[in-house]
């Protein structure tokens, strides 16, 4: 007879493992099925190991500019192998942490590939091919995540044409790298490699770098990447990658004609595709939409008893979104009071230097939505903290509804802004108006004062501009 749980979660990424924990907290008996490593992409091949690489790159940048701070350094070099090794170590530590959390929360970990089957059942195939069925009385949560998307013109060979996993585990630092796509992942790797001395070129299909961000952010990061020595091409597309020679010959169509780049390695960072194959969707009749599992606001799929969250469903492919969805889904499953996720108030961050963080409407989107808006900008140029830290690049831009003062959006670029965006998320959650931001005493001297400074600017009350 099949072993029985209340809830079975397939996939242990930042969607799955928090869902499992929350369900267990609410008194349910839970198992989690994982075919690779606990923690999913985020902990093993995504958020965490990239942030470790970025930190090494940032430290190296400090060292290269040590003299600006009054520190003498005779000779320095990035030990590529050690940088990679550190990153893998951090990822491993976090993954072990999830194992500990599963144990602590009395969640059974079943290693193997899970597949939805019949009614609230999951068939797990272990590495030896042995199959076991498990039943979930309350429901099955599918959280199988996503993987790198392969473009037709850019065949990934795992050696010279690579995706993110390989990019964070290369044996040798490439002398030159062409990054396809300027989303968060592409831009972060571009920064890491450029800081460590690789000649980096970024090719973006859309008219702006970091295309989801406000246009002012795109302009500023373009300027900063230029200073860093990264060549960027927008409105451009990779037509062909020829790997027959020693390196790669990359043919790129740019607005000023075709260009050929000779590089050691090409990194394809052009989005993701959901893991929806071989997980029993067809057999159980779970519907998909544009390659993702279709769900309602409570993450119910088209088949009762099956739920789906995270990167295998629509919505922004972000770890914190997967987690929020997992928690809400678990609460719903447990019959606990919960509330649906507000997808309009999700922050997004890019952890290159200067960092990028944003939430809510861009200026363009706010105008398109018909808002009459007030826009304010505070450049870090005018910030005492930024001056003291030698980080005057960037700004905070805020957008308010002119009529009611609703905080429509915030767009930040600069040192530590990824730690500053939570203020705006919470303020928006609490339905602030500009007034309360202006009357909240921000500590001096901080970068976060710029949120208040930008709001002052929007209302013609700027003190430090």
């Amino acid at each position: 007879m099949a072993q029985t749980y209340d809830v079975i979660v397939i996939g242990s990424g930042p969607g799955g493992y928090p869902a499992a924990i929350r369900a267990s907290q609410l008194g349910l008996k839970v198992a989690i099925v994982e075919k690779e490593s606990l923690g999913g992409i985020c902990l093993n091949w995504g958020c965490i190991p990239t942030k470790a690489l970025l930190k090494s790159a940032q430290v190296f940048e400090y060292i290269k500019h040590a003299k600006d701070y009054g520190i003498n350094v005779s000779e320095s070099s990035a030990d590529f192998g050690a940088v990679i090794k550190r990153s893998r170590g951090v990822a491993e530590g976090m993954s072990k942490g999830v194992a500990f959390l599963m144990k602590k929360n009395k969640i059974d970990v079943i290693m193997g590939a899970g597949k939805a089957k019949g009614v609230k059942t999951v068939e797990v195939t272990d590495k030896d091919g042995k199959k076991v069925d498990y039943t979930a009385n309350k429901g099955v949560i599918i959280a199988t995540g996503a993987r790198a998307r392969e473009l037709p013109n850019i065949k990934i060979d795992g050696q010279k044409v690579i995706e993110y996993r390989k990019a964070m585990s290369l044996e040798k630092q490439p002398k030159s790298l062409l990054v396809v796509g300027s989303g968060a992942i592409g831009m972060e790797f571009a920064y890491v490699y450029a800081a460590m001395g690789t000649k980096v070129t970024v090719v973006e299909f859309m008219p702006n770098l970091v295309p989801v961000e406000d246009e002012d952010i795109s302009k500023e990061i373009a300027k900063q990447y230029k200073k860093l020595g990264v060549d960027t091409y927008v409105n451009s597309s990779v037509e062909k990658v020829d790997t027959s020679g020693e390196g790669c010959k990359v043919l790129v169509k740019t607005p000023s004609g075709e260009k050929t780049f000779e590089v050691d390695v090409v990194l394809s960072a052009a989005g993701i595709v959901s893991n929806i194959e071989n997980i029993g969707l067809e057999e159980t009749g779970i519907k998909t939409d544009k390659g993702k599992i279709a769900v309602n606001e409570w993450y119910e799929t088209s088949v009762p008893g099956f739920y789906a969250i995270g990167d295998c469903t629509p919505g922004p492919a972000l770890a914190h979104v997967a987690t929020a969805e997992g928690i809400i889904c678990a609460e719903k499953l447990a019959g606990h009071k919960t509330e649906a996720l507000d997808y309009g108030n999700i922050p997004g961050c890019t952890y290159c230097q200067p960092e990028i963080a944003s939430v809510g409407f861009t200026e363009k989107k706010a105008r398109e939505a018909g808002y009459d808006i007030k826009v304010g900008k505070f450049p870090f140029m005018a910030s005492g903290k930024a001056s003291a830290a030698g980080a005057k690049e960037g700004f905070v831009k805020v957008i308010f509804d002119a009529k009611y003062g609703e905080f429509l959006g915030a767009h930040m670029i600069g040192m530590n802004v990824t730690e500053m965006i939570a203020e705006v998320v919470v303020a928006r959650k609490l339905e602030t108006t500009s007034h309360e931001i202006l009357r909240s005493v921000h500590p001096h001297p901080t970068m976060s004062e710029a949120v208040k400074g930008a709001t002052e600017a929007a209302y013609g009350e700027a003190i430090d501009l």
Binding site: K403, Y404, G405, E406, L430, E431, T432, T433, H435, E436
Partner: protein
Amino acid sequence: TAASSDASDRIKASPLAKRLADEKGIDLSKVEGSGDNGRIVKRDVDEFKAAPAAQS
């Protein structure tokens, strides 16, 4: 001052809800709050408007 004597008698509303109610001439004491601890939020004011305001 005692830490216990608030919340019940005072109307709690988000700043945005207050501004909206003000603008639309809605009496907040008539609005039921759906937020935490019965806090009145934008949605409550919007929906209050949609409901027949004729009763007043």
